[in-house]
């Protein structure tokens, strides 16, 4: 079910992150797998950007790369990730290790996919909150930490007295995800990355987590980057949407462009996989074929084997990114001659 809401208009277009030509690869016995293949992207202050795509499209890796914590055997092979914070331009990939450590969470925090495994099972919630603050601010008193933690737990609608004493296994999945969200907000980060924040949860819990996130967006006004394949979440919260396929951006635009005027056949196909509000018996259209094998990518446009509009050129040359309007980017050879229409939902 998709339901578009009026978004706050962005008046200042001041980037907070500039990702430039980022490449992330994993070294595996089958060879080098490029999970992110030259992504360039700007994230603007105060906006909510959604990065959507199928499993294996490199969107989670992109999220991890933004904190420079891609786990082994992955590594960032090229490009830069520059944060524009407090009037300084900092490429996190160039920072010395100790400065990186201090930079993380304070400037950019992340809520992870698996609510169930994101918390250390042998430490109480309070200890995991406290060690986070303490490793960034040695002089803070326990009372100050407690005050702050309590406030944040109220914000995510949890009872601090009950939660702080508990071990992770004593909390439900939804509660653990709320704890993670509170934990992510602990150091007042400028940017919050949320990797599939609702995927591991049941529908009702998803709904209430979404309410919490909307509330946070309204109250704190921070820059949020959602990484998800949940398009209904995007419709509800996004200002802009970036669509990834096989490690590259294939389309980027504001939420209306992407939902109503997609220009890439993949985005178009993605929109058709979502049920409409107006009819219940209409058929859904799954995207034919399966996501490409990242160790053995097809030549040319990576989507061409699944694309109904593919021509000769598509299998030979990989299309370059092209700005259609100052805010709408697409990488497709045929964007000019195709008219892809999505009916109102």
């Amino acid at each position: 079910m998709i339901e578009l809401e009026t978004k706050g208009t962005l008046t200042v277009n001041e980037p907070v992150i500039s990702i430039d030509n980022l490449t992330v690869e994993y070294v595996s016995p089958r060879g080098v797998i490029k999970a992110v293949r030259g992504v360039s992207l700007k994230v603007y202050r105060g906006e909510t950007l959604f990065i959507v795509g199928e499993s294996g499209s490199g969107k989670s890796t992109l999220g991890l790369a933004m904190l420079n914590i891609v786990p082994r055997p992955g590594r960032i092979a090229g490009g830069s990730i520059t944060y524009h914070i407090d009037g300084r331009n900092v490429n996190i990939l160039d920072l010395p290790l100790e400065d990186q450590r201090a930079f993380r969470w304070k400037n950019v925090a992340m809520v992870f996919q698996s609510a169930l495994n994101s918390l250390n099972p042998v430490l109480r919630i309070w200890d995991q909150m406290y060690d986070t603050i303490e490793s960034h601010d040695k002089h803070i008193s326990r009372e100050e930490v407690y005050e702050k933690v309590r406030r944040l737990l109220y914000l995510v609608r949890l009872d601090p007295d009950r939660v702080l004493k508990a071990y992770p296994h004593q909390l439900s999945g939804g509660m653990r995800q709320r704890v993670m969200i509170a934990l992510a907000l602990l150091l007042d980060p400028k940017v919050l990355i949320l990797d599939e924040p609702t995927t591991a949860l049941d529908l009702l819990t998803q709904k209430s987590i979404m309410e919490v996130l909307k509330n946070i967006k309204k109250e704190l006004g921070l820059t949020m980057i959602f990484i998800t394949h949940d398009l209904s979440l995007a419709a509800e919260l996004a200002d802009r949407v970036a669509v990834m396929y096989a490690g590259k951006l294939v389309e980027l635009g504001d939420v209306y462009d992407i939902f109503y005027r997609p220009r890439h056949p993949y985005t178009f196909a993605l929109m058709k996989t979502v049920p409409k509000l107006t009819s219940i018996d209409e058929e859904l259209y799954p995207i034919p074929g399966s996501p490409p094998d990242m160790a053995n990518l097809p030549p040319g446009c990576k989507f061409h084997p699944r694309c109904p509009y593919a021509t000769r050129a598509c299998s030979d040359v990989e299309p370059s990114e092209e700005w259609l309007t100052p805010s709408h980017l697409v990488a497709c050879h045929r964007h000019r001659d195709l008219s892809l229409r999505v009916e109102a939902r």
Binding site: L64, L67, I69, P71, R101, A102, F103, R104, W105, K106, A109, M110, F112, Q113, S114, N117, S118, L119, N120, P121, V122, L123, R124, D131, T132, S135, H136, Y167, H169, M180, L183
Partner: protein, 343 residues
């Protein structure tokens, strides 16, 4: 609270139930050993008679008369009567007297002469081996696929595949004999030294410990190392470790509180079980180095069919293993909040 409720509370108590079960296991195990020991071919008197006949050329009758005068045990009694006697003695705290190893000496004295050496040597070796194994295992996991990992893992697999006593013999042959250190590979201290808390004696004790210590550590560290490596690799892949990195925690804290603690949890059970065997000594290794430990005592009492000593040693091993398993459960529930003692 009425007596009935009190009784129910006590009987329903987890600790009480565990203790009761532990006691049952000890009774069952010692009963079984009592009978199995007596099912072994030959008996202490036969073996003594044979020794006397071959060593001093005594006639069978003379040797038998001597044995009967020396030994207080009457093996012609029906088994169930012997068993009944054994149980009543144990309840009175009497383990009986040694039959043939050192006839007439209370078993308690025999055992206490050997037990401290085993406790000393095995506990030092066990903890060293454990610490060495988990440290190297963790380093190897952090550098998995690298040179360090490959070399250490291969060596660990090889050394833990060789039985301890063989390693001991190799040490005796290649180090003891070649470098003239063989005197330090016999017994727990040099003959002629009087045990006491003086420097020469303590140095001598540690020099004698070196060979069995090395053997024990070499044959057991690999197991600890390989399982610690596997656990650490698994924990490093857990999301909470990635979260800890993202949170900007110092690497040292991640290593101890996030990776180390979680990776070590499963090893605590194995460690606690091994603790039980500290009391049993390491029979084969102690034998190679003629070390004055419970393991060696067990070996010689089996050879001499010294029933009472064997019973005592097996009883000690049974009790310590059962008790350490019990403690392992309790400690595990303290260090892993997910495991609750209950029900």
């Amino acid at each position: 609270m009425s007596l009935k409720n009190l009784l129910r509370a006590v009987l329903g108590n987890y600790l009480f139930k565990r203790a009761l079960r532990a006691f049952g296991i000890i009774v069952a195990a010692s009963t079984i050993t009592f009978f199995i020991i007596r099912l072994m071919p030959s008996n202490p008197i036969e073996i003594f008679i044979n020794q006397m006949m071959s060593a001093y050329g005594m006639s069978y009758e003379d040797a038998k008369a001597m044995a009967l005068a020396l030994f207080t045990i009457d093996l012609d009694k029906p088994l169930h009567e012997q068993y009944f006697e054994y149980v009543t003695n144990i309840i009175r705290g009497n383990l009986g007297t040694s039959i043939s190893i050192s006839p007439g000496t209370p078993v308690m004295n025999v055992v206490t002469a050997f037990l401290p050496w085993t406790l000393f040597s095995v506990s030092i070796s066990l903890f060293s081996s454990f610490l060495l194994g988990i440290t190297l295992g963790m380093i190897a996991a952090y550098r998995r696929g690298g040179i360090f990992d490959r070399v250490v893992s291969t060596v660990a697999a090889v050394t833990s595949a060789i039985p301890g006593y063989l390693l001991g013999i190799l040490i005796v042959v290649f180090i003891g004999v070649r470098f003239g250190l063989i005197n330090y590979m016999r017994g727990a201290y040099s003959a002629g030294l009087t045990p006491g808390f003086n420097l020469p004696f303590i140095v001598d004790v540690f020099l004698h410990l070196a060979a069995p210590f090395t053997t024990y550590v070499l044959s057991t560290w690999g197991g600890w190392m390989l399982s610690m490596k596997a656990n650490t690799v698994a924990v490093l892949g857990e999301d909470y470790v990635t979260v800890a990195r993202a949170k900007g925690l110092p690497e040292g804290r991640i290593r101890t509180q996030y990776v180390g603690r979680n990776a070590m949890l499963p090893l605590f059970t194995s460690l606690a079980i091994s603790l039980g065997f500290i009391f049993g000594g390491s029979t084969l290794i102690e034998n190679v180095f003629v070390y004055r430990g419970v393991g060696r005592l067990l070996w010689s009492s089996i050879n001499a069919r010294d029933y009472t000593v064997m019973q005592a040693v097996f009883l000690i091993i049974t009790i310590s293993v059962v008790v350490s398993n019990f403690l392992a459960d309790l400690i595990y529930s303290l260090i892993d909040p997910r495991v609750r003692v209950g029900g």
